[in-house]
């Protein structure tokens, strides 16, 4: 699918940050009411604004934008850090604020390092590997797709790298945050092609959004 020339296509992540993304665009003067009411549909065209929203899995947003199927995307910094695509990061939308942290069993604090290999369970294998490599630590990354907190409890891993917002899930599973890797919020990203070819519309939208942040 090729984004039409005078239309702007924005890929939004389904799930946790969708409602706040939509409120933000609404606050910036784009009527998104048609999107909130129908969650099965994946493409929403706003004829008057010549704007098209597509809804996709959060981890797929960078791909849609990279290939130019969408001009812009709203996506968490965690996913950007993990995928390392060549996308332009135009704006911090300050949505879905949380942090990306290393966590471990509460009773193990401080004792994790010093063993030859540390096993790290995470949804973010690239990011985790880069983080520990930078520190010169030897780790083996175990990629999981969800319920990461289980891994240390079952001794599958020594530590986990995951998103932490309130810390409640960690506490309930007797885990503690050992280190914050990065502060995470949702970002507005563009591919270089759309950023240049649709420069005026992209800049106007960035300024509209900036005003209501």
């Amino acid at each position: 699918m090729l984004a039409a020339n005078d239309w702007l296509t924005i890929a939004l992540a389904k799930g946790r940050i969708l409602p706040s993304s939509l409120s933000l665009f609404t606050a910036a003067g784009i009527d998104c009411s048609s999107i909130a009411s129908d969650t099965r549909k994946l493409i929403f065209r706003l004829e008057a604004e010549k704007l098209q929203f597509i809804l996709a899995k959060p981890t797929d947003i960078p791909t849609y934008v990279e290939y130019g199927a969408a001009d812009l995307g709203v996506v968490g910094k965690d996913i950007l850090l993990e995928q390392e695509k060549e996308l332009y990061e135009l704006l911090d939308l300050k949505l879905g604020a949380c942090r990306l942290s290393v966590a471990q069993k509460a009773e193990k604090t401080g004792a994790t390092w010093g063993s030859s290999v540390t096993y790290v369970a995470t949804k973010y294998p690239n990011l985790a590997k880069r983080h520990f490599l930078k520190k010169g630590r030897q780790v083996e990354i175990i990629k999981l797709h969800g319920s990461i907190e289980l891994a240390p409890l079952l001794n599958l891993a020594d530590v986990i790298v995951d998103l932490v917002s309130t810390g409640k899930t960690l506490r309930e599973n007797n885990l503690v945050e050992a280190e914050v890797i990065a502060q995470i919020t949702a970002r507005l990203v563009a591919n270089p092609g759309s950023y240049q070819v649709k420069a005026e519309r992209v800049m106007a939208l960035v300024q509209q959004l900036e005003k209501v942040l």
Binding site: Y88, L90, Q196
Partner: protein, 407 residues
């Protein structure tokens, strides 16, 4: 895996081009070389691999991990060319340093890089480009940009943007503030990646005046037509060198004469990947393609690598990306459809004579390999995708339109 299965594979990042794409790509390459040639650029061809020393500047520019290297029989390191600019610079330094200037050269062929970055997932990429050597005036900058516009336009793209910047502007603006060299490098890197979120975080923390911070954060907004240059001048402190802005102004005015400014956006925050650029830089983009279609700029120091003082400006267009875009927009060059010449037991001489005459006139003609009945010939012609059947007997020719694809 069996040996046979292994023999049927090809490595990641390279591909076979089948009919008709291979022919269309060849035609597009020829077409682009013709455009270069009409602008007075003469083709040079350099080896696919060279000594690794040639590419020292590429290595410094961050291509270190994406270059194919292997030793020759004496252990001297060879490199599969990752780039044409350096081999052409070598050719000029060796063969043309004393010759008449300016020198207009063009090239086309494959470059090889491990996948990643702005190249997408391909490891062998076809480029075509030009180098204009020995002239440092804005006229040569403008000619190269105008030629890039001509190539994209004549290839059939009606919507594309060439964004034009100058590596000196950012340097000058940043030099005006009391910044550490490593902070300057970091800011330039963030501009290159257009990571404005991190840029903002970083600039906010710098120990410089609020006005200076404001100026740096204004740079991403310096995009648009020639009016951008006035805004840019206002950001520079009084008495600063405005030469980069004056140069862009002059380039713009030449591009106005070429009537291509509708395709040009000035972008003063632009930083090209390769750090050998010394002046004007540009990149070409089109709708629906995340990667640049073409890119180039001025690199006046590059030839000193080869012991030669010569200013140079050039650009390369990515045939692969151009082909992708033209395919999507259904604007690929059209290939001629074949005629099918068949014959009965006595008609071979007539058939071959007819085919040769048509071929000399430029038609695409497929001749049947053995005598056939008219019905057999008709069916065979359809299978071949021919548009017309010429069925020859010893003294006659029967002509039939073939419905393509129907057997």
């Amino acid at each position: 895996m069996t040996e046979v299965l292994k023999r049927r594979q090809i490595p990641e990042g390279v591909r076979d081009l089948l009919p008709d794409l291979a022919g269309q790509k060849r035609k597009l390459e020829e077409f682009i070389q013709q455009v270069f040639s009409r602008w007075g650029y003469r083709e040079v061809s350099t080896p696919a691999f060279e000594y690794s020393e040639i590419f020292a500047a590429d290595l410094k520019a961050g291509l270190e991990n994406s270059i194919y290297r292997f030793p020759d029989e004496q252990g001297r390191m060879l490199v599969l060319r990752p780039d044409f600019t350096l081999p052409i610079a070598r050719v000029v330094a060796v063969h043309f340093a004393e010759g008449p200037l300016p020198l207009r050269l063009c090239y086309g062929g494959e470059i090889f890089r491990y996948a990643g970055g702005l190249q997408g997932k391909q490891r062998a990429l076809t480029q075509a480009g030009v180098e204009l050597m020995g002239d440092a005036t804005p006229g040569s900058d403008a000619e190269v940009v105008a030629l890039a516009a001509a190539v994209l336009q004549e290839a059939g793209l009606d919507e594309f943007t060439l964004c034009l910047g100058h590596v000196g502007f950012l340097d000058l603006l940043l030099a005006a503030y009391d910044l550490l060299p490593q902070d300057v490098e970091k800011i330039k890197l963030l501009f290159n990646k257009k990571d404005f979120v991190t840029l903002k975080e970083m600039v906010t923390k710098l120990k410089i005046s609020e006005q200076a911070k404001e100026s740096i954060m204004q740079i991403p907004l310096l995009r648009g037509g020639v009016e951008v240059l006035t805004k840019a001048r206002a950001l520079l402190p009084a008495g600063a060198n405005v030469q980069p802005l004056e140069l862009l102004q002059e380039i713009w005015s030449v591009l106005e004469d070429y009537k291509v400014t509708q395709f040009v956006t000035l972008d003063l925050g632009m930083v090209r990947m390769m750090n050998y650029y010394t002046g004007m830089v540009f990149e070409g983009y089109t709708n629906g393609l995340g990667y640049p279609l073409c890119g180039g700029g001025r690199y006046d120091q590059l030839l000193t690598n080869f012991g030669c003082e010569l200013s140079a400006v050039g650009f390369a267009v990515s045939l692969d990306h151009l082909l992708t875009v033209l395919t999507r927009q259904k604007k690929l060059p059209e290939l001629l459809e074949p005629l099918f010449v068949a014959f009965d037991e006595s008609g071979r001489e007539n058939a071959i004579a007819t085919a040769q005459t048509l071929r000399r006139q430029g038609a695409v003609v497929i001749v049947d390999l053995k005598a056939a009945t008219y019905e057999e010939a008709f069916q065979a012609g359809c299978r071949l995708g021919a548009t017309r059947l010429l069925y020859c007997t010893d003294n006659d020719i029967f002509d039939a339109d073939l419905d393509r694809g129907q057997v």
